[in-house]
């Protein structure tokens, strides 16, 4: 079943001022899109609307022709916002196993350890995430893609605060995901080390 994300005449209002209006684009399987624009133009707001976290003032977002927000859509979605989205007080292993359970796909300890190892966190799974670097925290979150494959990735500044190695790691991950037929929508202040994709200017 093909996955196609369509944004239709999206308008976003912040306070009494419109941020952007009439945004329209589509991204299909095996493609990715970059949302581009100056600071404050509403890139994060657009991504949140695409993920279903915020409602647009006008317009709608469709996934496979249907309005987003259904359980089906959320199952296919991975959203990475500005915040780490992992609990500092839990270990990487605990974070991963709890996420998997909440998603309805419980995993065994070995599977979790395996996933974390593939993401370069072997030997650090039992540390409270507080003690990991920003790049490592990001990997803990992204390890979920192993246990819960999602077709649509929406990433808000995924390379921020990462060192060169981590940036490479994440971009390879995204590239592999897109090559395997997934969809990615992302923003970034830095140059995105991916084969060229669609650009949406706000």
């Amino acid at each position: 079943m093909p996955g196609m994300l369509t944004a239709h005449r999206l308008t976003c209002v912040r306070g009494t001022r419109p941020l952007f209006s009439g945004v329209e684009f589509s991204v299909g399987p095996g493609n990715w899109a970059q949302i581009r624009g100056p600071n404050g133009v509403g890139k994060t707001s657009l991504l949140r609307i695409l993920a279903g976290l915020a409602q647009p003032e006008e317009g709608e977002v469709r996934w496979n022709g249907e309005k987003i927000g259904s359980e089906e859509f959320r199952r296919e979605l991975m959203y990475l916002g500005h915040r780490a989205a992992v609990k500092d007080d839990l270990t990487a292993l605990e974070n991963l196993t709890f996420s998997a359970e909440m998603d309805g796909v419980p995993i065994a300890r070995e599977q979790a350890e395996d996933a974390l190892a593939r993401f370069g966190l072997a030997g650090r799974e039992d540390l409270p995430v507080r003690f990991l670097s920003a790049g490592q925290k990001r990997r803990v979150l992204l390890a979920r893609t192993v246990t819960r494959p999602a077709r649509l990735w929406i990433l808000d500044e995924p390379f921020t605060a990462l060192d060169v190695k981590a940036v490479d790691f994440v971009s390879n991950l995204v590239a592999d995901h897109v090559k395997a037929g997934g969809i990615a929508v992302l923003t970034s202040h830095q140059a995105i080390p991916l084969p060229p994709g669609q650009v949406v200017d706000l």
């Binding site: 209002v13 912040r14 306070g15 009494t16 001022r17 409602q55």
Partner: protein, 249 residues
Amino acid sequence: MSHRLINWFKLSSPYSFFPVAGRLIPWFWALTVLFGIAGLYVGFFIAPTDATQGDSYRIIFLHVPASWMSMFIYIVMAFWAGMGMAFNTRLSSMWALSLAPTGALMAFLSLWTGALWGKPTWGAWWVWDARLTSELILLFLYLGFMALHAAIDEPRRADRAAAVLALVGVVNVPIIYFSVKWWNTLHQGSTISMTKAPSMAQTMLWGMLLMALCFWMYSIVAALIRLRAIILEREAHTDWVLRLPEAAA
């Protein structure tokens, strides 16, 4: 039929309703004054002096209508807030926001006139009567609504959050009233009760009804005035507001 439907939709945008509100205000002021004069006349000149309470009971012509209005406005406010949230209409939420301060005023007025009644009648400024206590809690609910709305910067989000609060409140108001009544009868044995007003002569009832209508008209006026201010504030960036003569000021 379809003509009337179109009319409603046209009125539902802040832009179209703004001038309509302006035109309605003088009419409702007139009704307020009319009902007010009639009600006060009946209340202070026509209604008979009460056998037990003398003339001090006359404060109920303000107290009871204020109580009625405070509860009525809360329900209306919750209704429009809910509409605004369900149908994403801006004007409904603005209307709810306009009503809140007037509702709070009515609740406060009810409390204050209740105290003024209590002092000469039972010698105490405040008695933990079921209705007065519920009125106090209702005032807190109004204040909570306004405080929550004021604390959230983003207007649409504030509208929606306050709407959830108002709807939760509306479900709770009967529960709160019932529980306070229960508490009151357990503790006081009902010797002191605002609800034991002097048995109503026809004229007294008329007086209260007229004053209630007066307060109702006043509430509409106050809300309309506030609504226009809110519309101007929120739509400040649009063309039609910038073109208004008031905007030049």
